[in-house]
């Protein structure tokens, strides 16, 4: 048997693997002897471990896919180069023969004739297969470089040299952008001074005209000075034009170049990009099992810095005033969808984690009419002590409303959790006016999409989609395609752009894997039913989740919101997924099997000479 003290000294992968297997085997052996609450805690521990390995597995799969893709591209590129070289030399030979008036041999003719048909299969995935070879070459090289970059990233590091080169590139781009901006400002000043010369051609014409005037000997000295001054100003304007235009070309535009660079590192701002590059230049490795670290090093496109992230905050913190709820979604009564202050009580708090005190009667402590201002004041709430599973966490995500008064509520119709073939269907209600009558009404937008292929872990995936939906309030206005359902007052079918948008962000988020850790932390902290477990969960190796601006956690679920959930789904009628949205408060009232009998009663008898069924080894590791 290997000792943990020894194992920490032995970096050998095989030895460590054996050690882990032995430890897992021991866990399996102990499992039957645990009491139910201990089992739940143990299950959480196992799930956390599983998540780390699953994360690694996902990264490995992604890396393999990228490596295959890169190898495929390399092969294609190699073949393409061969074809091109052969073609060019044949073409030269062909031209020489034609010039000399000599007959062209068949093999030469064949090479030239077959050029396109040979290239075609290699260019199937190329966006512009008819582009000149130089462009195709550039495309392949860029793609391969990007893939190498991604593979390096998945291997837990950026190539320091690449990062350094990109740092220099970033500096140059920043300067370019600054000079372009300066030119634009100065040009605007001139434009105000010469309002008739807004167009570039007008300025040039005017310049030529003034030049002619200046050359005219008949003008007085005073005029000449005046014209010279104007000429100089026009010249400056034209120079600024040039500065702006130089950067407006397809390739030279610093903004688009910068965007490419940001996309490459998955950074959302120059600041975060600089941090990533700084880290990468110093060859600091990224923990593949720690999605948050990857996220921080490479924040997802569209997200902000971890310190100011709104996308990575909990629904409560992202939308602290989640006050808009409609108890009856199919109602046409506009008053129903108005803000319900009673539901606006979810409050993040810096002291939530430490202040957590298990209390079964937490339901009674939530004020049913806590005004919305309390949300903004971030009043600490009584903490939930329930053992929450993913579904319940999801409920809390789903229950998040939107501060936009046009959006009444986001509801989830059904979620098939835990599978890789998940269909994500949800309804979102919006307050709108009937275009024909002008009457206020509640619209229900139905979104249904198979997101299975992109699922890493369903919960955070759904959460992200929901957050995207929540944050992009304008999207609902695009949902204009009507589809009537007798069970609904009005259903607006999904809008393709809407879906595309949501899916795009969704994919990015999953790629960066940046929510898993937060979820794990929530699960661990929420499911802690003893002070020790809570302490462990808080002080575990999982880094704190970037949930709110001040870096605090928010692990509360407001009890009143939980109560509200069934009402929301009742409103949708048959779409209420009882199996998922069982009100959490009901569970509290259920007689707890943990409390009915002393824990000893549940302790299973210890096995004598346990032999593990998988390894066939006993406690001492012997067969």
């Amino acid at each position: 048997m290997i000792n943990i003290v020894e194992i920490e000294k032995i970096p050998d992968l095989g030895t460590r693997l054996v050690f882990i297997e032995e430890e897992i085997y021991k866990l399996g052996r102990i499992a039957p002897t645990l009491t139910p609450p201990e089992r739940l805690e143990a299950q959480q521990d196992i799930e956390l471990l599983q998540a780390r390995f699953e994360s690694t597995l996902n990264l490995l799969n992604e890396r393999t896919a990228k490596e295959n893709l890169k190898s495929d591209l390399e092969n294609k590129y190699k073949k393409l180069m061969e074809i091109e070289t052969n073609y060019q030399s044949s073409l030269n030979e062909y031209r020489a023969l034609i010039e000399r008036g000599e007959p062209v041999p068949d093999y030469l003719q064949r090479v030239i004739d077959n050029y396109n048909s040979l290239r075609a299969p290699l260019l199937v995935d190329v966006p512009n297969p008819l582009a000149p070879f130089s462009e195709l070459k550039e495309y392949f090289e860029e793609e391969m470089s990007n893939l190498s970059f991604d593979i390096n990233k998945l291997n837990g590091r950026h190539h320091p040299d690449v990062a350094k080169a990109d740092s220099i590139r970033l500096e140059k781009l920043e300067k370019d952008i600054a000079s372009k901006e300066k030119a634009r400002i100065e040009l605007n000043k001139f434009k105000q001074k010469y309002p008739g010369l807004a167009k570039v051609n007008d300025r040039k014409k005017k310049y030529e005209e003034l030049e002619r005037k200046l050359n005219d000997v008949r003008t007085s000295n005073r005029d000449k000075i005046d014209i010279s001054k104007k000429l100089q100003e026009l010249k400056t304007m034209i120079d600024y034009d040039d500065v702006i235009r130089n950067f407006s070309g397809k390739d030279k535009n610093p903004a688009s170049e910068l965007k490419k660079l940001l996309d490459r590192y998955g950074a959302s701002s120059i600041k975060s990009l600089k941090e990533v590059l700084k880290k990468a230049s110093s060859d600091i490795q990224i923990d593949p099992s720690n999605p948050r670290e990857i996220h921080e090093a490479n924040p997802a496109p569209g997200s902000t810095d971890p310190t100011t992230a709104t996308r990575s905050s909990t629904p409560a913190t992202a939308n602290p005033a989640s006050a808009t709820r409609t108890p009856a979604p199919d109602s046409t009564n506009p008053t129903i969808a108005t803000t319900n202050p009673a539901s606006a009580t979810r409050t993040p708090s810096a002291s939530t984690v430490n202040a957590r005190t298990p209390s079964p009667d937490h339901a009674s402590t939530s004020s049913p009419s806590l005004p919305e201002t309390h949300v903004n004041a971030r009043t600490p709430q009584k903490l939930d002590t329930l053992l929450l599973d993913n579904k319940q966490i999801l409920e809390s995500f789903v229950s998040t409303g939107n501060t936009n008064k046009d959006l009444a509520v986001i509801n989830l119709k059904s979620i098939n959790l835990g599978t890789t073939k998940s269909t994500f269907t949800y309804y979102r209600q919006i307050q709108d006016r009937d275009p024909s009558t002008g009457e206020s009404m509640v619209k229900v937008v139905c979104v249904k999409e198979d997101i299975g292929p992109y699922l890493a872990r369903p919960v955070e995936a759904y959460r992200q989609v929901l957050q995207d939906v929540l944050q992009d309030k304008y999207l609902y206005t695009q949902c204009r395609d009507t589809q009537t359902d007798p069970k609904m007052k009005r259903i607006y079918s999904k809008d393709s752009r809407f879906i595309k948008y949501a899916m795009k962000n969704f994919k990015n988020e999953i790629k960066s894997n940046n929510y898993r850790n937060a979820i794990e932390r929530i699960v661990a902290v929420r499911s802690a039913n003893t002070p020790y477990a809570l302490e462990q969960a808080i002080s575990s190796d999982i880094p704190p989740m970037p949930l709110s601006k001040d870096g605090t956690y928010n692990i509360e679920i407001n009890v009143r919101e939980k109560k509200l959930l069934p009402r929301l789904f009742n409103g949708i009628g048959k779409t209420r997924p009882d199996h998922i949205l069982k009100p959490v408060t009901e569970r509290v009232e259920e007689p707890s099997m943990f409390n009915r009998y002393p824990q000893e009663a549940y302790r299973a008898p210890k096995l004598v000479e346990p032999i593990h069924r998988r390894t066939g080894r006993d406690e001492r590791g012997e067969r």
Partner: protein, 48 residues
Amino acid sequence: MGEYKKHIENINKVVTPEFLRNLSKEQVEKILGLLDDVKKDLKKGEVL
């Protein structure tokens, strides 16, 4: 429970980023399978 925690902590100590980085797909899948078995054991216990 103390013993259980001890094993979990032992595993966590060994499962470092470097360790994970060097694992092959098969190795990860094997450990996941083992963990899944333990989870099943725990669930089985609940019924009892």
